[in-house]
Amino acid sequence: MSVSLMVKIGNLTLKNPVTVASGTFGYGEEFSEYFDISQLGAITVKSLTLKPRLGNPPPRIVETPAGMLNAIGLQNVGIEKYLKEKLPFLRDKGCTIIANIYGTNLEEYQLLAEMLEKENGADAIEVNLSCPNVHDPRFRNKCPLIAQSPEWVGRYTASVREKTSLPLIIKLSPNVTDIIEPAISAEKSGADAVSLVNTFLGMSIDIRTRRPKLKNIVGGLSGPCIRPIALRMVWEVSKAVNIPVIGMGGICNPEDAIEFLIAGAKVVAVGSYVFRDPYAPIRVLKGIEQYCIEHGAKDVNEIVGSLVIQ
C-alpha cells in the first residue's frame, strides 16, 4: 500500500508532515552529514534577525529532568549572511524552507518578511513572537512576549501579512492562560498556520553558589518533560481554529509525533531531541508512514485530528 504523506500549509504543499524546530537544526548544514535533509517535509531554520546577534553570555544551557533549559538569546548570522551563505546550500539540496524570523519591533518583522520574499529566501515564514530569552523592553512590564497578548499577536500577524504572500506561520508561546485566544487572533489576522509550542520559561539554581545556573537567570524549557502540556495545547488549538497547526514540544519518537497528529497537528517538528539523535526527524518520518500503513490510512491527513473521545 502506498501512503500519501502530503500536507498543505496555505498554498504550500509539503511532501510530508515532518519538519524540525527552529533553533535546533541550525541552517541544515551539520545535519547533512547525517542524512539527506531534503527528505523532510520542510527545514525550519534558526530565528533570523535583521542584524547578526551575539546572543546571551554563557552558560546558556542546563539539563533538567527529561529536558533542558536554554537561553541562547537568538544568536544568529543575520538575514543578509543567511541569504548569502546559508540559503544557497538549502536551495541546492532542494529543501522546502521555513524561515523563522524575529524582530525587536513590528517594522523589523515586516522588513525581514519582505527581504525573504524578494530574495526567494523561504517557502514559508514562521514568525517567532514567543522567544522567552529576549525580552522586548517595551512590554517587559506586564507582557514580555508578544505571543502572550492576543491583541499584539493580531497586530503583528496583520502587519507581516501585508508585506508577504508567502505562507505565514505564527509561532505561539505556551506561557499563557489560554492558548486558544492568540491562535484565533493569528487566524483572524491572516495567518496560514500556527506553530506551537515554543519553550516554557523556567529556571535552575546552583545551590552551592546560590546563583542561577543560566547567566540569563531564566531560560526556555524544552524536551520530553513538556510534551504532555504541549500536546494538550495543540489539541485545544486544533479544535478552535481552521488553519493548520504545526505541533512540537518534546517529540522524540514516531509515537510522540503520532500523538500530536491525532491531537490535530497537521505538521510535527522535532526539536531538542535532534541534539541527542540527529536521525530523529527521519525516524519520525518513517514511523509515521509505517503507522499509516498499519492502520490502513491511505493519507496521513486521515490521522490528523482523529482523536476518539468516548
Binding site: G23, G26, E30, Y34, G55, I61, Q75, F275, P278
Partner: protein, 262 residues
C-alpha cells in the same frame, strides 16, 4: 562525524571513581584525532536527556578509549555499563590539537581528569617528533594520579604534583610549570579546571609561549547547531564573537579567549 554503535571491549576502574572505557569501532577509531571528543548516550530513557561529551583519550586500530570521572548521574550510569554491551557514540567531534613542528619543547599540563585527552596526543607528538615531551600530571591525592605509567612508557618526561603532596611534588600543576625555566620557543597543551587553564595561559603569555587548551562547556548538541556551548573570543576581524566549544573548539589558542569575561 557520525553516530556509531560501539561495543564496550574493556571497562576498568583506574582510580577511585575514575574509569577507562574502551569502545570498539574501526571507522570511528580511524578518523579520530587527539583533542577531539565524542558525545555518549548514557541511557535509553529521557533522564538524563542529553549525551555526555568525553574527550578521546587514545586511538587504537579499531577502537578508542575514554577516561572519565564519575561526577553526576550521567557518568554514574555510564560506569555501570558492561563489557560486551553496545553504546551509542557520536563523533569524532570538534577540532584537534595543532602540532607545530617549529617548537622545540612540548609541555602537557593536565589537572585532575583534565589529563584525559593527552595520552593520544603524547603518542602522536612522540611519533612525529620523537621526544622533548614534558607531561605535568596534577591530582588531589596520590590515588588520583592518572596515566603516569602510560606517559612514562611512551618516553615522556613526567612530573607528578598533588595538592596534598602524597605523590610527587606538593602543589598545583602551575607551580611546576612556573618553575620549569625552559627558555626556548615552546608550546603548552592544557586541560583541567578553567582557573588552572587561565593560570597556564598567563604563564605562557609572560614567556611568549603558545598555549592550546581544551575547554569545557555545557553542551547539548556537540555539532554546532544549538549554540549552547559558546565562549567569548576576540578575533582579529570581529571585535567580539562567540565561538562554539564543540565546533571551533574544544581546542583553543588561549590568546583568542576573552579571559576578562570568564
Amino acid at each position: 562525524m557520525k553516530l556509531f554503535d560501539c561495543v564496550v571491549t574493556s571497562h576498568t576502574e583506574v582510580a577511585p571513581e575514575h574509569f577507562r572505557l574502551v569502545l570498539k569501532n574501526k571507522e570511528l577509531a580511524e578518523v579520530s584525532q587527539p583533542g577531539q571528543f565524542v558525545m555518549i548516550e548514557v541511557t535509553e530513557t529521557w533522564d538524563p536527556f542529553l549525551r555526555r561529551p568525553m574527550s578521546i583519550e587514545r586511538m587504537f586500530s579499531d577502537s578508542i578509549s575514554i577516561l572519565y570521572k564519575v561526577v553526576g548521574k550521567g557518568t554514574k550510569l555510564l560506569s555501570s555499563i558492561r563489557v560486551g554491551e553496545k553504546i551509542s557514540v557520536q563523533g569524532p567531534l570538534g577540532n584537534s590539537f595543532p602540532i607545530d613542528l617549529d617548537f622545540k619543547d612540548f609541555f602537557i599540563v593536565g589537572g585532575g581528569i583534565g589529563i584525559a585527552p593527552f595520552p593520544g596526543l603524547a603518542e602522536k607528538i612522540i611519533r612525529i617528533r620523537g621526544g622533548n615531551l614534558h607531561v605535568i600530571i596534577g591530582a588531589k591525592t596520590h590515588s588520583q594520579v592518572l596515566c603516569e605509567r602510560d606517559f612514562r612508557e611512551m618516553g615522556c618526561r613526567v612530573y607528578v604534583v598533588t595538592e596534598d603532596g602524597s605523590a610527587g611534588e606538593k602543589g598545583l600543576v602551575t607551580d611546576v610549570l612556573d618553575k620549569l625555566k625552559v627558555e626556548v620557543h615552546s608550546v603548552v597543551y592544557a586541560c583541567g579546571p578553567i582557573q588552572m587553564i587561565k593560570k597556564v595561559h598567563q604563564i605562557c603569555e609572560e614567556r611568549n609561549w603558545i598555549c592550546y587548551a581544551s575547554l569545557e562547556a555545557e553542551m547539548a548538541c556537540g555539532i554546532g547547531v544549538c549554540l549552547g556551548c559558546v565562549v567569548p573570543v576576540k578575533y582579529e576581524i570581529e571585535n567580539e564573537m562567540m565561538a562554539r566549544v564543540c565546533k571551533e573548539g574544544p581546542i583553543f589558542d588561549t590568546r583568542v579567549i576573552q579571559w576578562e569575561k570568564i
